[in-house]
Symmetry: C2
Subunit: 640 residues, 2 copies
């Protein structure tokens, strides 16, 4: 008998002891990090509201209870019973029954109403029909990404069960080694911005954190081929953890499946969906630019199929000796600081991913309160000694002035923006400014994936700030549905029309002017001296965005669609409004560390230009007396 099976026998014995005689337990299995208990008496299980909590605390595992397939009410009869139980105002839009797991997925406009007070309605459902309900929100703005992901996962349910069972057995295997150590190997994003990737390793386990591309330097991918990463075989890696969906963190995650990896990805649910959206677009852009994409779209589906979504604050076993907890990072939807607890109290490491320290219109500021952290791996995008940004009030004033000036000249404002994050923040700023009469009403065109990314935001309002969440659920007050927002769907003809028309604002991807529809907009608007190109986010070294900021006044274009290369002169005004960055500025980074609880012992300053990481490292050392480092790529640090 394998050690996992042996361990599972022990777990079953404990469950048999704890569960009252009149409730049957027909099977116990692992599914990913969860322990699943099958029972022929789901109603009785549900009736004892405290039983699952007691078992979870006793076994120190996350527990799901499922009805034995024999005792389920047939779906047609169950559907009627469920619709009767759930109040009308919940707005149930869909019910899906899965006989293999005994789950019914209820899609509703108001999931809270479906759940009921402390889960009372859900317990009623189980008691009545035997099925285990799972509730998901009907997006208030239809998102094809969310639809596609949900449909795909529905269709791949059986495969997914196999994956989860395999992952579960991996997680709950016995540790093999008597050694103890904790190491971090840097595979990318050290002394540079882009290609984020780290290995966290112990004698038993290797975790890959992020796997991104490098904007403006296509060839420079993370060092995945070294033996510490995939050189030792793709399944030397136990798990992938994704801090957030931006491509410099996620673009090469699907590539791992091309390499033969078949393990799990842990991230938040919105990160999963946004990763799907952004990586498919990444392939699309590569194809359009005549580059051969590093993987096919089926690898994106593999990645989604292997994703195990976690919520902020859930402490989850992801390996025999590692527990992962995600915390809000304040950067984009679903962005996480990833906290790893290694061994039984041995060591704690937090990877910041990208963070925003202060609250924004969209998100609460990054969490910096942890049970324990000895080492922090900290982004340093704005870690340079002069990287202080104006605060958002001033930035908003400046942006409004830019809009007003362009309007006064009959010009337009073109804003390159990441589809995810900065675009929605700007939408909220501009919508409010027009509503309050600070700037004239004019159309705001959203190009690239901005519309779709906005729809995904409205699907996961629990990841947004409270006040915004409430507005989203009032259709009349949903700021993202304001009249001035227009989704560019007509391609280049529509862009040409808009460019020939009246004053307006255009938000378009890519955020660093490395491709995508922003290139067309520059072709149309570049020569117009009355219009203004406005940067609102970080422009990495090597990107066209950075070069324009530095004074470049010619833009390469493919004018006739036949691949003929040409240039257009850039006569637009060029402005930078720096308070909208999704990144903490130098002050924010220092505040994050200064107010961090507990104070870490060591900090690795990564994800910033060489001077930024070294400045930040040296300041944190001198001002706060911490051991700090500005690693290079391909180094390994040992902590225990």
């Amino acid at each position: 008998m394998s050690t996992v099976d042996k361990q599972l026998e022990d777990v079953k014995a404990t469950i048999d002891d704890e569960v009252p005689r009149h409730i049957s337990v027909s099977d116990v299995t692992y599914e990913g990090p969860e322990l699943v208990i099958y029972t022929r008496d789901p109603k009785e299980f549900a009736a004892d509201g405290d039983l699952v909590r007691r078992l979870a605390s006793k076994l120190r595992k996350r527990i799901t209870v499922r009805p034995d397939p024999d005792v389920l009410t047939p779906p047609t009869r169950a559907e009627q019973a469920i619709r009767d139980l759930i109040p009308e105002e919940a707005g149930v839009t869909d019910l899906d029954f899965y006989e293999d797991t005994g789950e019914v997925v209820i899609q509703a406009q108001k999931p809270g109403v479906v759940i009921g007070r402390h889960g009372a309605t859900l317990r009623d459902v189980t008691r009545e029909v035997g099925w285990t309900p799972e509730v998901v929100r009907t997006p208030p703005i239809e998102s094809s990404t969310v639809d596609n992901v949900r449909n795909f996962l529905k269709q791949e349910r059986e495969d997914r069960r196999d994956i989860l069972e395999r992952v579960g057995r991996q997680i709950h295997r016995d540790p093999m080694s008597d050694d103890e150590y904790v190491r971090i190997t840097t595979l990318g994003c050290c002394r540079e911005v882009g290609r984020a990737a780290f290995i966290l390793s112990t004698p038993d386990t290797r975790i890959l954190i992020d796997c991104g591309d490098k904007p403006g330097a296509e060839g420079e991918t993370p060092y995945l081929r070294i033996p510490e990463a995939f050189g030792a075989g793709a399944n030397g890696i136990d798990a992938v953890v994704l801090t957030h969906a931006h491509l410099d963190h996620s673009a090469l995650v699907p590539l791992l499946y091309e390499y033969g990896y078949d393990g799990p990805i842990y991230c938040t649910e919105p990160t999963r969906d946004l990763m799907g959206l952004l990586t498919l677009d990444y392939l699309d852009v590569a194809a359009k630019e005549g580059r051969s994409p590093p993987y096919g779209s089926e690898m994106v589906r593999e990645a989604i199929k292997h994703t195990i979504p976690l919520e902020y604050g859930d402490v989850t076993d992801i390996a025999p000796d590692i527990k992962l907890t995600l915390h809000n990072a304040g950067h984009i939807l679903g962005s996480s600081i990833c906290h790893f607890h290694v061994g039984d109290g041995l060591y704690n490491v937090a990877f910041s991913g990208d963070i925003h320290y202060d609250d924004t219109r969209l998100f609460d500021g990054a969490v910096n309160d942890f049970p324990r952290v000895e080492t922090l791996v900290l982004e340093s995008t704005y870690g340079g000694k002069n990287d202080y940004q104006t605060d958002q009030d001033d930035s908003e004033r400046k942006l409004k002035q830019i809009v007003q000036n362009a309007y006064d000249r009959d010009g337009k404002v073109l804003i390159p923006a990441f589809a995810v994050g900065r675009s929605q923040e700007l939408m909220l700023v501009l919508e409010e400014a027009m509503r309050e009469g600070d700037i004239p009403e004019m159309p705001i065109y959203l190009d690239g994936m901005i519309w779709e990314a906005t729809a995904i935001h409205t699907t996961y309002p629990e990841y947004l700030r409270d006040s915004l969440r409430d507005r989203i659920f009032d259709a009349d007050d949903n700021p993202f549905l304001a009249d001035q927002f227009h989704h560019i769907e007509g391609g280049d003809d529509e862009r040409a029309d808009v460019a020939d028309g009246d004053s307006c604002i255009v938000l378009s991807t890519s955020g660093m002017v490395t491709g995508g529809p922003i290139m067309s907009w520059l072709e149309h608007l570049g020569p117009d001296p009355d219009s203004t190109l406005t940067f609102v986010g970080y422009q990495a070294s090597g990107t066209l965005g950075r070069r324009i900021q530095r004074g470049r006044d010619e833009i390469p274009i493919n004018g006739d669609g036949n691949g003929r290369s040409d240039t257009v002169s850039l006569d637009m005004n060029v402005e930078t409004v720096d308070g909208f960055s999704g990144h903490a500025d130098r002050q924010g980074l220092e505040n994050f560390v200064r107010t961090m609880n507990p104070r870490p012992e060591k900090i690795l300053c990564v994800h910033g230009d060489e001077s930024a990481t070294q400045d930040l490292s040296s300041s944190l050392y001198h001002d706060m007396n911490l051991r700090t480092f500005a690693p290079q790529n391909l180094e390994t640090f040992r902590f225990r």
Copy 2:
């Protein structure tokens, strides 16, 4: 056609161009780092004394010329011709003909006479009989190790040819990667003494430098299972380089073959033979102590079969992007500083192994003059701020005083010593002292492998100091053959007799009192207050030697040979004479770096207790303004 075959075609074309028409070239192959040219005209090849040199310089490879088997004089006839050609005083003891390679191995007491002026006699041999002569020295003291190694290699010649051809193809393959980097990963001997092991890696190549055990801590082996080492598969390693034969550097080298490694080991010839001697003894000691040895003796044979011996100063390709050169380290017979030249001028790293900076009776001091070195990995055994040793003159005076005092009390002097290195140094000191009348004549008993190790020293006199070399070849003056030396061959009965007898000196292994015959000697002599236990070498933390130095006065013994554990009280005097160490002291280490040419940019201080490595690192940084580190095990440093 593989890239290696393609490259070999180019090499053949160059050779055809260079070699005059009247000399045929029948085949060209790689054998390890050498390029072998077969010719039907070996006499003409030999006649043009400059041709091989011209080819070597043109092709930038080491070249060996062999006769095509068809043109060889039959061995019986050839033997007579060779014996006629070589002067009588050469003392030829053996001739072996190898038809597969056309080589004849000539074993002689005076190899120089066989070789003749600038190789004239050897060229005569080839011209006369076609065979390619190789000359080896007949050991002046018979060594069973040397005999066994030579016989074994003779017997395994065909296997060895296959190995060399495979290694040759590996070395001369084309580099695969466009990346450039140079990294060192620490697998052991960081902030500790013992289990030396490092990985030097580039995108194309991984070299393992040393693979030792840790005296006094059996379980603590180098971290071979991590992916950077053997975790990625045993043949992820391209080559093993061995600095010297002491077990804390060599003990686990044969284990690599148990793990499936089948690549080459580079070291000097005496290091190969001493490794054979010491690792077989290591297995023997483990068995006697009831521990299960980590590998069988057949793995020692594998290691010997895979060894490619190099001489000091030979620049040798060991991978497509790495050249290795060994330099005298002054520590023990054949000990080397290993210098790696990476890429085409990209980077240079030297691993000191263990070094002795000053000249000793046996060896010249360590070489510290290199074409280029950017990073030095430096031993720090005596790197602590108080680790200054008395100089050898004072130490010799002190040792002689100890001997005199013991003699005056009718006591004995027991010296635990490494079989290899310190024992021979002490033999020279004691022999001289008795010859010159500084101490009374008395027997000196050599126990453990000291006699055999001494025989190996006399086999390779070119690794010893000039003056000593000359004495060894004069049988009447060979200090190691002096009358007072007695080889203990009669086991414990003989030891008991010696212990009951008159004053004498005993040199016995192991040098750190971790096992071996020294344990019996302690049992016999431990209770004798008139005798003196004298430490002359470094005692690592955790060893019984260290504990006795610190005042421990009870010794565990297995008195009745039935495994019954018991103790004996230690009433002997305990003395330490520290000037005989094979290691540079703190002053020697500083002098080594201060006078090093060129001065390195970075130094990793390894192979010393935590405080020693940190003291040395911090002093070298402050005094010489170098970037210094005191790494932990399991870290990776990137240099380019």
